[in-house]
């Protein structure tokens, strides 16, 4: 493609769209997000002793990245895995 990027506004539109849609698609309705949270807590709880009330689960959105971030304080490691 020999067209200079400066003149190619369609490429700019395409890039913007891709970023917008990653963000849009990662936004879950509140009930679904609760399910994700419960599943994460249950799975981690199989291996570590955790305090459910202290868990922080958020979706971080920056201009070009989206990430699911979970902060799970660990009280102890379980000997037997459930």
């Amino acid at each position: 493609m020999s067209v200079s990027r400066i003149g190619s506004t369609s490429s700019i539109a395409e890039e913007r769209l891709k970023i917008i849609l990653v963000q849009d698609r990662s936004m879950l309705p509140p009930t679904k997000f609760e399910h994700v949270k419960e599943d994460v807590i249950d799975t981690i709880g199989n291996y570590f002793e955790i305090n459910k009330a202290d868990i922080l689960l958020i979706i971080q959105r920056e201009s070009k990245k989206t990430a699911l971030e979970a902060i799970v304080p660990i009280l102890s490691v379980k000997r037997k895995i459930r």
Binding site: V3, S10, A13, E14, L17, I20, L21
Partner: protein, 263 residues
């Protein structure tokens, strides 16, 4: 048993009504019995696009309220004998819609027609829900711009969650010149981003404005126009034929936006 297809977009003003009406005409020209249903309750427009505004007696809400039978509300098209319009009400709002009743009405109509095309209103609220509820398939209309594609993406997600998996894409108001000069999103990018099968591209065509002014459909009024050729091809693809996409490259001096198909 007919096919019930919702024509929707999320975004307003992208051409849902114009496309529903013209596709209805093209499908009926192929020998099908078609009903186009205006689901924009309170803001009816399908009648106007088809030039049938003086022939509307009953509408879908009258059927729903038990004031008339389905047959009494159907308006036969002026030109195409196999094409019928089920108008929307102009006095109700979306809040008045009883979705279960709408589903029943469409289900009854389905059994006597080959195609039921549901013209969805813009948005993702009750109007859209009531248009999508009776549908088994969907046509998503986008124009080549960021807003339209973004909105379409959300609508596709909603439709898939409701179990409508037969979803195809129409790109409307395509401008070959702008796309070639990389000033307009091209169809491949849109198809890639949305992850849908493309069923057609409809070029910007001034005949659409003129036929709309007159309340005529391209299949009858401007049957040689490039947009009508696109509608014909889309109808044939809907019927299962494998038709190559039109090449919108202008022949010779493309003036007044008249594009001819490259032979």
């Amino acid at each position: 048993m007919g096919r019930t297809i919702v024509v929707t977009a999320g975004k307003g003003g992208v051409g849902k009504t114009t496309i529903t009406a013209n596709l209805g005409a093209s499908l009926s020209k192929l020998g099908n019995k078609v009903v186009v249903v205006d689901m924009d309750i309170g803001l009816r427009n399908l009648d106007v696009v088809m030039g049938l505004e003086n022939r509307v007696v009953y509408n879908i809400m009258d059927i729903s309220d038990g004031k008339c039978k389905i047959n009494q509300a159907l308006v036969r098209d002026k030109h195409s004998p196999g094409l019928f319009l089920l108008p929307a009400s102009q006095i109700h709002t979306k809040d008045d819609i009883n979705i279960d009743k709408i589903v029943d009405i469409i289900s009854t109509i389905e059994s006597s027609f080959d195609y039921v095309l549901l013209d969805s209103p813009a948005g993702i609220e009750k109007g859209f829900e009531s248009a999508a509820a009776p549908a088994k398939e969907a046509l998503i209309i986008v124009t080549p711009d960021v807003s339209s594609v973004r909105d379409a993406d959300r609508v596709i997600g909603i439709l898939e969650n409701r179990g409508i998996l037969a979803i195809a894409l129409i790109v409307n108001r395509y401008d070959y010149g702008l796309v070639r000069r990389k000033k307009m999103l091209n169809t491949d990018s849109i198809v890639d981003i949305l992850g849908l099968d493309l069923i057609g591209m409809i070029p910007e065509d001034k005949m659409i404005i003129e036929s709309n002014n007159r309340g005529e459909l391209l299949a009858n009024y401007a049957n040689g126009s490039i947009a009508n050729k696109a509608f014909e091809n889309i109808s044939r693809r809907i019927e299962g034929e494998d038709i190559p996409f039109l090449n919108f490259k202008p022949q010779g001096k493309g003036f007044f936006g008249l594009f001819r198909r490259e032979e």
